[in-house]
Point group: C2
Chain length 385, copies 2
């Protein structure tokens, strides 16, 4: 069902040859209203791709008519020609839809530096084809067209009390080889103002996509977009909508983690007993980014020493000699000293739980990551291309 | 020649079974004076091993009689028993040498969590044997006894105008599998005060070891020690000594980089045109820690897009659309857009030069790192053990 599950949205995905495989590579999602509300969050990378530079301006007024997304090229660091390509993509879509170009978002994903004249011609052609073919059941096609090295399309749907949320996603942090980028489009027919949409989206991404850290590498093209048609005519309870949106985002984050290129373990790092949520996130992220820890998990080695060494590099409040660390329910380190034998831990399942108790407070957070594997190195070393 | 190249030092390395291979695993360096000056810098990891906790106290008064180093166990997160082991090691050495335990440094390297009664007994036995066997040409034996997965011992010597610096080192950041830790002992017969020794050591490590970042993982046991005997009777020109010490440290840093486990490229990231030296270091380190960049180099792929994406995550002053990036002398990205074809770059040699011009000022710095390889993953995933 994807992004066309809610009322008021048309979508399509088409193939125009941006991908050498011939698979679909341009998608559109069109909001038929009556509301044309949009909200978006972008990569915090200061090296921003042209679509990010464009979309950051479009989203300012909270009005979004449509979004055009392409795989097969990031259009990042492609000079002023590349920015004009993004601009022309929005103009093309706007012309065909009879709306303002300033209300059309653009997303791109693929190799940085790709964005020449051939790229431009294909993106414009794809925009035209996809808008011509957009239907109220085109969500699945759109979800396929934004895939890069994803092995499966990623979609999610939530049915509320008279309103629906639909969503599609691709990527996993910067883990996809040379192609990077997490792109997410979420749609809803609930009635929301631009301010409400923005607040809900920021709250949901903060506890979901922002806590998925496959390989510590931040993309130049990340964008998470919420489009609101209001077609249901129903104004949801704010708490109910917030919870549903967070559910959808967490569901997609889990799908991204599960499909992360080269990974053999999905690692959930739960940090409890932190003095603040920020501390918990910082500690979890530091462990998630530690290559020695990640390689150990690949080798089914519950190396708690590497966890403590990673925690030690943070500014979080804790006493290294008070910390407990458990792997898959077995406490291997208690108060900074060995506890149960590591032989008691079975790390052969893909799902891996690491529990860190900082003994410094009552706050908690969970960071999702993957292990560091031979396949990760292989797929990101260009040997595969 | 190692640490016994200067006058006034005895050293030895012995095997007591801490390593399963039976290779040497305990080393001592004894300062015969007349000066007994010492300075040291330690890991900034807040999770500090017992020898670090001990040595941090010993170094306070600037007096060091001897240093005992063991491989085969980090004695980190081994509880109060582990700290007592370090204390007893210093007491044993002090008793044999007729000095105060408070003037004996201790270093350990190996697996975190290793430090039981067997470990203690062997370290104490090794301390006794090594002190009994210490001679004025034992520097090479000491350098071998601190090796973990190092394939060659690492030593350096500088002969000044009437004075000498000798040194030994092991490790490469946390790159050695499960064993971690960079340990360095530098000796000199030059005449220096404790304050001078400390200032010289901090200045030299800041531009050498602090800029070697193999895998971004900070050890719990790192220690760089300078021991001053004054046996030459010569007080060096401060500038000459500073330059010589920096040379020795850079030489050792290069040896550590070249012997980094699993690496197939030695990458030198030179950042120029920075607004400040801190900015240059931050940018270089961010690139050095980017797994996608490191995997690309392994695949001989001069992926400048990943360099820009890594720079974009820093707080440094720069305009992403002004930056130039060159690989091995070929400028692939100019003003944030493609320049020369990447086919012109040959990345098959082990030595890899990345030049980043931020176009934001006149400051510069170089960070040394390695690529992310299959061997790195293999050796750090415990499959090798």
């Amino acid at each position: 069902m994807s992004v066309t599950a809610p009322e008021g949205f048309l979508a399509d995905g088409v193939a125009v040859g941006l991908k050498s495989t011939g698979k679909p590579d341009v998608a559109v999602v069109v909001n038929q209203g009556p509301l044309k509300v949009g909200a978006a969050v972008f990569t915090s990378n200061r090296a921003k791709a042209n679509p990010i530079l464009w979309s950051t301006q479009v989203i300012q007024d909270g009005v979004v008519e449509a979004i055009v997304l392409n795989s097969g090229g990031a259009n990042c660091f492609t000079g002023s020609f590349g920015f004009q390509t993004t601009h022309q993509t929005a103009e093309k879509a706007a012309e065909l839809l009879g709306v303002s170009p300033g209300d059309v978002l653009v997303c791109s994903t693929g190799l940085i530096g790709t964005g020449d004249e051939t790229f431009r011609a294909k993106v414009l052609e794809g925009t035209e084809q996809a808008i011509a073919g957009a239907t109220s059941d085109g969500g699945e096609d759109a979800a396929r067209a934004i895939m890069t090295t994803d092995t499966v399309p990623k979609t999610s749907t939530f049915r509320g009390d008279g309103w629906v949320i639909g969503a599609m996603a691709k990527g996993a942090g910067m883990l996809a080889p040379g192609l990077a980028t997490m792109l997410v489009v979420i749609t809803t027919d609930a009635v929301l103002t631009a301010e409400e949409a923005d607040a809900h989206l920021r709250a949901a991404t903060r506890v979901s996509f922002d806590r998925l850290d496959s390989d510590g590498c931040m993309s130049t093209n990340d964008q998470v977009t919420l489009m609101v048609s209001g077609a249901s005519g129903v104004t949801p309870e704010p708490e109910a909508f917030a919870a549903a949106l967070a559910d959808v985002c967490l569901d997609l984050a889990g799908q991204l983690q599960a499909d992360a290129e080269g990974a053999s373990h999905d690692i959930s790092i739960r940090v409890v007993g932190a003095a603040s949520e920020d501390d918990a996130v910082e500690v979890g992220r530091s462990v998630a980014r530690n290559n020695l820890f990640k390689a150990a998990i690949f080798g089914n080695d519950p190396n708690w020493g590497r966890v403590l060494a990673a925690i030690g590099t943070t500014e979080a409040s804790f006493d290294p000699y008070a910390v407990d660390v458990s792997f898959n329910g077995v406490r291997l380190c208690s108060a900074g000293a060995p506890d149960r034998p590591r032989e008691e831990v079975d790390l052969t399942p893909r799902a891996t739980d690491v529990l860190i108790d900082l003994k410094a407070g009552a706050a908690a957070a969970t960071i999702l990551t993957n292990d560091l594997t031979h396949d990760y190195v292989h797929e990101n070393s260009a040997y595969s291309s």
